[in-house]
């Protein structure tokens, strides 16, 4: 076995891993290795050839590969070690990393700190339990995106898309531009999980119908997909008998949610959060295992890569602090809890005492869309801070910066709720 030692190993070379590695370097860590299983860096961005990345972070609209390129250059310039086509097989609680590729064979890396940045995977037909036959022509939207944008193959001609998340919306436009007929985008909820601008730019501009509160209840076709049965659903998302109709199609793309990919994390003994599906972390993005950090989609699913970058810079910085002699802890740990209409908040706790910090960013998602809201931050019954938003949507992550000086030593928990303005 090929044994090596590194101060910091970053698992995954997507935007999260790249930004974390870059920041750790800039904070003085020199001995860094990025392990990436794909043949290139950049992660899922490499297949997102559409525009719309970087508005917050770079102040301009880039394509996915362009956005990734910036960070790829940064880590290369800094001389960070990179191994491509390398799959990490195991991370132990002692931070031993096992990885494999064709050139080095089995790598056994003794690391002092590990940053988990493996991204996420897509939910499947089975995860949403659609009965019927099992023909060719049923793909997750991201797989179809890979076929079209990376492999340059069109998977089908007559398409139905289930789920109006961003990947679904973008693939609707992509398939349309490739000459396929997109019959409809179906959404089980009364609202879309995608960005508003994507609904406009991907569907409305091409007259692709978006049908709310409908879902696929059966798949037909022996060899290749022939049709899907669609039904309207009630408020509990149950199909309403009698509303079924059939759409003929040879392709069904599923954009029904992403799941953080945490098999490695679990094996390393990292504790998971039920709602996010990712590790439970403090504000430095450190998990329950000292020296193991997580950021990006492996931690919670992000809609904008800009926030992935911000979050990963935090993780990279904390990892550097950890390597350079440790992190000072607060006397008392502060839990961060979701209140009314808040699905989750990352980080789940604030535990570190960081000298020159000005803000702690809270990332959260609301449970249902609401207009004209106030987002309130409480410590116990005491309101610390609020901000107004014109509209919140589950599809768009809310960031809520909390000034450091508001966080005091006697606190043991914070809570955020989202209520109608004036309530």
């Amino acid at each position: 076995m090929n044994k090596q030692e590194y101060e910091l190993v970053v698992v995954g070379g997507g935007p999260a891993g790249l930004a974390a590695a870059q920041e750790a370097y800039d904070q003085g860590v020199r001995d860094i290795l990025i392990l990436e299983r794909d043949f290139e860096l950049g992660g899922i961005l490499q297949q997102c050839i559409h525009n719309g990345f970087g508005l917050h972070y770079f102040g301009e609209e880039l394509t996915g590969p362009e956005y990734a390129q910036q960070f790829m250059e940064n880590v290369r310039e800094r001389g960070v070690d990179i191994k491509l086509d390398t799959m990490v097989l195991e991370v132990t609680p002692e931070k031993d990393v096992y990885a494999i590729n064709s050139d080095d064979g089995m790598l056994y890396i003794d690391a002092e700190a590990v940053i988990l940045a493996m991204g996420c995977r897509e939910r499947t037909r089975e995860a949403i339990d659609i009965p019927g036959t099992r023909p060719a022509g049923v793909y997750s939207a991201g797989t179809a995106q890979r076929y079209v944008n990376m492999e340059q193959w069109i998977p089908g001609e007559k398409v139905v898309i289930l789920g109006s998340g961003d990947i679904g919306l973008i693939m609707a436009r992509r398939m349309h531009l490739e000459g396929a007929e997109v019959e409809a985008v179906l959404e089980i909820m009364p609202f879309s999980g995608g960005l508003v601008r994507n609904i406009v730019q991907c569907l409305d501009d091409f007259d692709i119908p978006l049908r709310m509160q409908q879902t696929v209840t059966e798949i037909h076709g022996k060899d290749r997909l022939e049709a899907v049965t669609v039904a309207e659903v009630d408020e509990n998302m149950q199909p309403i008998p009698g509303t079924e109709y059939k759409i003929e199609c040879d392709t069904l793309l599923l954009s029904v949610g992403l799941i953080p990919e945490n098999e490695l994390s679990k094996d390393a003994g990292v504790k998971m959060h039920d709602v996010t599906g990712g590790p439970i972390v403090n504000e430095g993005r450190e998990t329950n295992i000292e020296g193991i950090f997580a950021c990006g989609n492996v931690l919670h699913v992000h809609d904008l890569v800009d926030w992935v970058t911000e979050e990963s810079l935090v993780a990279g910085k904390t990892a550097a602090n950890y390597l350079q002699g440790g992190i000072d802890k607060r006397e008392q740990e502060i839990e961060v809890n979701p209140g009314e209409n808040v699905g989750y908040i990352v980080p789940q706790k604030i535990t570190n005492d960081v000298e020159d910090r000005k803000l702690v960013d809270l990332y959260m998602r609301c449970k249902k869309p609401m207009e004209h809201v106030t987002i309130n931050l409480y410590s116990g019954d005491k309101k610390l801070l609020d901000k107004n938003e014109r509209r919140v949507e589950p599809g768009e992550m809310i960031t809520f910066p909390v000034p450091e000086q508001m966080i005091s030593d006697d606190m043991d928990s914070l809570k955020v709720d989202i209520v109608k303005e004036g309530e």
Binding site: I100, N101, T124, E126, D129, W153, T217
Partner: protein, 494 residues
């Protein structure tokens, strides 16, 4: 395709492949034809995969006798000869009500009459020692330690490859379209050409009646009876140690909860008579019935962590409810192996033994082939190795350093091996059944494009000719318009 053979076997399921392998022990020319592009696409691909102990089978029926003998042969020979996962987890039949106890006693007696070893009825805490997460109202259970589970795909592939290693020829996409009875021989017309055979063995599963009709035999009819399943993620943390049955009723054997050889949990099947032998569709009602049934013995089951649902069809001869294994007295040289419903998999080695006996009688004696090698080894299993073993494997062949399927840790080396075996894999699903890419929680979302790529390269066909399962199940249509242009430019070009 060659034009003459001693023995032609129709059907590449477990029955046909087992017969081919057992007959390849002898100095005979054996040919197997299968209509699909891969083995194991019929009933053998969708079942509960149990090597039943034999307590539930009627001793008066052929299937009762062959089940017991089949189980014995798996223990004594098959598990040692073929590199196929078989585990003897044992089975429990769980009674929750007093009035079910006589039925347990009855099963015990029937089992003992069949010669099933070590059967006993356990009560109280002893039940929970065997199955800790069983529903808490179990009062007694029949325990059959000789019951097992097998991987039916690997078994079938191993049998076909072992037969091929010993000289048998296997033709895929060679569906039998007609058979001409020429007296001494049969001229069998297949999609790949005509072949003349001295003896024809009909092991066509759901289509066995149609094959028999081709030579004018209409004494039996196959009625498909569908069973549906849910399969759970390995990481689901559902603790099931044995194969758990409820007490059977007159109407049904009940919903089984069992681990698979890879450590997933499988629940099912229900039983529903349907019209078409092609209808392997799952249904809302069927799946709900399966989950409700399974929760009666293992209450912690839910839809959470389900990674696959599927359905299989039992090829039943309803009049007899039994296997039909015989040389036809109407058409000499034509052997039916039909109605192979459950426990067809458990009985498969014994069915093959019986078929060899019939062939011997038809031919008037068989001569053993001194070169016959009963051993077969499949592709290595990276996922089951220690890191040290994995390191050694990749040192020998760099293709084992490329992980293609992340959920199941399947390497490119294993996939290449599956394609390059004597009876090699040709379809995405065939590769999935043999070496597991796509069998995990993401169901191929990650690895399918890579598998398509490898198949295209190895078979020398474009990617849009690669199929999922059947000939018509192509995955991709055509090339994109302008490779790697961004969308703005594409729309400008329109």
């Amino acid at each position: 395709m060659k034009d003459k053979t001693d023995i032609l076997i129709i059907g590449g399921g477990v029955t046909g492949c087992f017969a081919a392998r057992e007959l390849s022990r002898y100095d005979l020319d054996i040919t197997l034809v299968e209509k699909e592009p891969s083995l194991c696409t019929g009933t053998t691909k969708a079942n509960t995969a149990l090597i039943h102990a034999g307590f539930n089978a009627d001793p008066d029926k052929l299937k009762g006798r062959l089940n017991m003998r089949g189980n014995q042969l798996y223990h004594e020979r098959i598990q040692h000869e073929l590199d196929v996962p078989i585990e003897w987890l044992g089975a429990l039949v769980v009674a929750k009500e007093e009035e079910k106890l006589p039925k347990l006693e009855e099963l015990l007696e029937k089992g003992q009459e069949n010669g099933v070893p070590d059967l006993e009825i356990v009560k109280g805490d002893d039940i929970y020692d065997l199955e800790p997460h069983l529903a808490d109202d179990a009062i007694a259970a029949l325990h059959a330690p000789t019951a097992g589970i097998v991987n039916p795909f690997e078994l079938t592939v191993a049998l076909a490859n072992n037969a091929a290693m010993n000289g048998a020829d296997v033709y895929l996409e060679a569906g039998v379209e007609d058979i001409e009875d020429k007296g001494e021989t049969k001229l069998v017309k297949t999609a790949k050409g005509d072949i003349e055979a001295d003896i024809v063995i009909n092991a066509a599963g759901l289509y066995a009646d149609k094959i028999a009709n081709m030579v004018g035999i209409d004494k039996f009819e196959i009625t498909p009876r569908r069973g549906e399943y849910y399969l759970y993620d390995k990481q689901a943390d559902i603790d099931v140690q044995t194969t758990v049955f409820p007490v059977p009723t007159k109407i049904t054997k009940g919903i089984v909860v069992t681990p698979t050889d890879e450590g997933n949990v499988l629940i099912g099947p229900n039983a529903e008579v349907i019209e078409s032998v092609e209808n392997k569709s799952t249904t809302r009602e069927g799946l709900d019935e399966v989950l409700n049934g399974a929760q009666k013995t293992i209450p912690e089951l839910s839809k959470r962590n389900v990674i696959r649902e599927f359905a299989g069809l039992r090829p039943a001869i309803t009049e007899t409810g039994d296997f039909l294994i015989e040389a036809s007295d109407e058409v000499p040289g034509f052997i039916n192996v039909a109605g192979i419903q459950s426990p067809g998999l458990a009985s498969a080695p014994a069915i093959a033994e019986k078929v060899v006996g019939i062939v011997e009688e038809e031919i008037g004696g068989l001569k053993e082939d001194p070169d016959f090698d009963p051993n077969y080894e499949g592709p290595p299993k990276f996922r089951h190795m220690s890191h040290e073993e994995q390191a050694k494997l990749v040192e020998e062949d760099e293709n084992y350093g490329q992980i293609i399927c992340r959920c199941e840790s399947v390497t490119k080396g294993e996939i290449l091996e599956a394609i390059r075996e004597p009876v090699g894999a040709r379809t995405v699903n065939d590769i999935k059944r043999r070496v597991r890419p796509g069998s995990g929680r993401c169901q191929g979302g990650f690895c399918e494009p890579k598998v398509v790529n490898i198949l295209s390269e190895e078979l020398g066909i474009p990617e849009n000719e690669v199929v999922l399962e059947s000939e018509e199940s192509k995955l991709l249509r055509e090339r994109t318009k302008e490779p790697l242009l961004n969308e703005e430019e594409v729309s400008d070009n329109e």
